[in-house]
Amino acid sequence: MIYWDHAATTPPFDEVVDTMAEVMKMHYANPSALHRSGEAAAKLQKRAREVCAAALDVRPAEIVFTSGATEGNNMAIKGAAMQYSSRGRHIITTGTEHPSVYECCKQLETLGWEVTYLPVDALGIVDLAALKEAVRKDTVLVSIMHVNNETGAIQPLAEVGRIVKERNARTLLHVDGVQGFGKLPVALSEWQADLYSLSAHKFNGPRGMGVLFVKQGVQLFPLISGGSQESGQRAGTENVAGAVAMSKAMRLSREHQPELYDKMTELRELFLSGIRKIPGLVLNSSEASAPHIIHFSYPGLKPEVMVHALEEMGMLVSTKSACSSKLSEPSRVLLEMGKDREVASSGIRISLGKEHQLGDAARLVEVLAKVCGNLRPVIEREG
């Protein structure tokens, strides 16, 4: 079996698993405790925060540990909305965000907030002219992702930041960075981002850990209240082992990003040219997308059929994003990109990891061609 679903979750680095186990065994004390063991745990937690901050070129005090990006996105969007509702009740996002952003905005709408969903072009890139027009005096927050989780489309965040801040210097910019970190360079100060969320399990870190960058000076209304952990921004006993293990994964991912980018770009070339040669397949990502996501549709075929057919041949790929793949609706992201229902209902995603080699990719393209050939009669019969 070869696992091709790294955009859903990644296998943790071996070192990360070892660190997690060692710290869990040795430093089980509560870092808020006053005794010596608590102090030791607090030291580790502090060090983990410094390492995570360094990986993003930000200050340790700007790092909040979370349970992952779903929490980070909720905390950023709803926390900012509740904190700054005196500035206005308007939020801007795109139609192609991850459900953890999209549904937050939907929820705020039911509470009386106005949300502008910016359109995207055929490649999934946000319409900057529409953004410029949408930012108003009462816009509290703009939330735009770095890399789309289905198609790999990369948003032009430097321009987004410039436009948002030029139109309204008080409007906050939140970036869901989940699919970008470790794959592409991250430049929070250039983007002028105020909030940035990550999940550790997307960069070979432990499940159940994440980071929310909260720029100095920005306040969030805490969604989880209780103890004063994380400077009162997020209550709950600290997951010291998780924080340490995540910081390791984060440091390694940042260090390996440039070489990984080159390697994945090479593999992606192979996939794109291979898929273009297979009759019936429609590519939804391109050379301009992030290098680790290759997305295509096989119109007329239920994507589950394709997933299981590839599985038979030892290849694990995915339909849509894992968070919404059990639903049999067409992909909202693809519909937003102007694809028709057929294309939007038959998407398949291949996502790459550090362990993949050229031979693996060539093998998958080969298998894909074969499976498509076998399935074509099915489509023709149903069509």
Binding site: T19, E22, K43, L44, R47, A48, V51, A61, E166, V244
Partner: protein
């Protein structure tokens, strides 16, 4: 925009007659030290200002370290071009274009012709450079008095300097030009700010911290070391004296005068600090006292406590509001460390209602009755541990060596 030079301006000390060269020497050696990590930067001295040629070094990184040099009032990143009209205009247009221009920006050009052979006078140059800027950037509007942006053009024989940005520096007096003092460093918000203010005024400081193992934790001690490290970013290195205060402190518990506890403690601290000052050749004690902030900082308390030393007590924050102090703490980078929640020895054994108006006679009488006190104070001084802390000191590691490593580097 790539810059070629930084222009550094100096403050009031340039007015100080005979001492001027001493001040200049001190500031120059401070600048040399902070620029050590940037081998290509070249310092050029001129009357009343200095230039740093970047030669490819990052201007942002240099400005970051230069902002910590006391005596330096402001910094301007400069672009150098040949002293030819076309090139000057081209440089000015390019430079202004790099700035994020808002809807409307008022500006003026201030040209200075140092090289008198240049064919256009300063007045003419203001127009010659200003007009193309107005044509290129419609957002610009000329305003001679208090413009948003003042573009300076200095025409010299070997090149013309163009700049508009003026970045404020730390100001004050060059490092150590006004002698040495001991700083009582508690770990709170105020004392590091007091220390910074003293250093900014040209004082060299040595820090004195009182700790009460086992009642205060290792983390509290490390926090003070970290604060010292942050302050050392302004000076290169700082001596920190760590005074074991437990025995002195607990000796006061038995007196039964709980409301005077803090008064006794503070007086004992001043006595210890004075002895250390004498040993180290310091001529004053700096504290973070701010009038009325807590019981020991009321005027009657300051009076009674202050009499425990004959050295001048310098209180840079005495008339400042807490919010202003907090803002400085944030600016100088000590705030986030200061608010870490560890007990220090002053918050231990705090009585329910400490006096705001101690009686000097009673205090002196009680102290005279404590026959053990002089010995305990002497022992505290003898057992004081002195460490030298530098900006790159690894605080956790200094301590960890003694009690087994907590942080396993392999984990990160």
């Amino acid at each position: 925009m790539t810059y070629d030079m930084l222009l550094l301006r100096f403050g009031e000390f340039t007015l100080k007659g005979k001492n001027r060269s001493r001040f200049e020497k001190s500031v120059l050696s401070h600048i040399r030290r902070v620029l050590k990590p940037f081998p290509n930067a070249v310092i050029i001295k001129e009357y009343g200002r200095m230039y740093v040629e970047l030669n490819g070094e990052s201007p942002e990184a240099l400005i970051q370290v230069l902002k910590k040099v006391f005596g330096l009032v402001s910094i301007s990143p400069v672009r150098v071009c040949p002293s030819e009209l076309d090139r000057i205009i081209e440089t000015a247009v390019h430079m202004v274009g790099q700035r994020n221009l808002a809807d409307q920006v008022t500006f003026k050009v201030h040209a200075r012709r140092v090289w008198k052979q240049f064919p256009h006078s300063s007045q003419e140059m203001n127009h010659l450079v200003g007009s193309p800027l107005l044509r290129t950037y419609p957002q610009l509007k000329v305003q001679v008095k208090q413009p948003d942006m003042e573009l300076r053009v200095e025409i010299r024989e070997n090149g013309t300097y163009v700049y508009y940005e003026v970045i404020p520096g730390a100001g004050g007096y060059p490092l150590g030009t006004n002698g040495k003092a001991m700083l009582l460093l508690s770990g709170g918000i105020d004392s590091p700010v007091a220390g910074w203010s003293a250093m900014r005024r040209g004082l060299e400081i040595e820090c004195v911290h009182f700790y009460s193992f086992p009642y205060t934790s290792q983390l509290a001690k490390e926090k003070v070391m970290e604060l010292t490290r942050l302050l050392s970013g302004y000076t290169g290195r700082i001596k920190l004296h760590l005074v074991p205060f437990t025995d002195v402190q607990t000796s006061f518990v038995s007196i039964g005068q709980d409301n005077l506890m803090i008064t006794f403690m503070r007086r004992a601290m001043l006595r210890i600090a004075s002895a250390l000052a004498e040993r180290e050749g310091a001529l004053a004690i700096v504290t973070g006292d701010s009038l009325g902030q807590v019981a020991s900082q009321t005027l009657p308390s300051m009076n009674v406590i202050g009499r425990a030393t004959e050295l001048p007590l310098l209180r840079p924050l005495v008339m400042m509001d807490k919010n202003d102090i907090i803002n400085i703490a944030k600016d100088i980078g000590t705030y986030e460390t200061s608010i870490l929640p560890y007990e220090d020895c002053c918050t231990l054994f705090v009585p329910k209602s400490p006096t705001t108006n101690p009686n000097l006679k009673i205090v002196e009488k009680v102290e005279a009755s404590l026959t053990d006190l002089p010995g305990l104070i002497e022992a505290a001084i003898q057992n004081t541990e002195t460490v030298i802390i530098r900006p790159d000191s690894k605080i956790g590691e200094l301590e960890a060596k003694s009690e087994g490593q907590v942080i396993n580097e392999d984990w990160f």
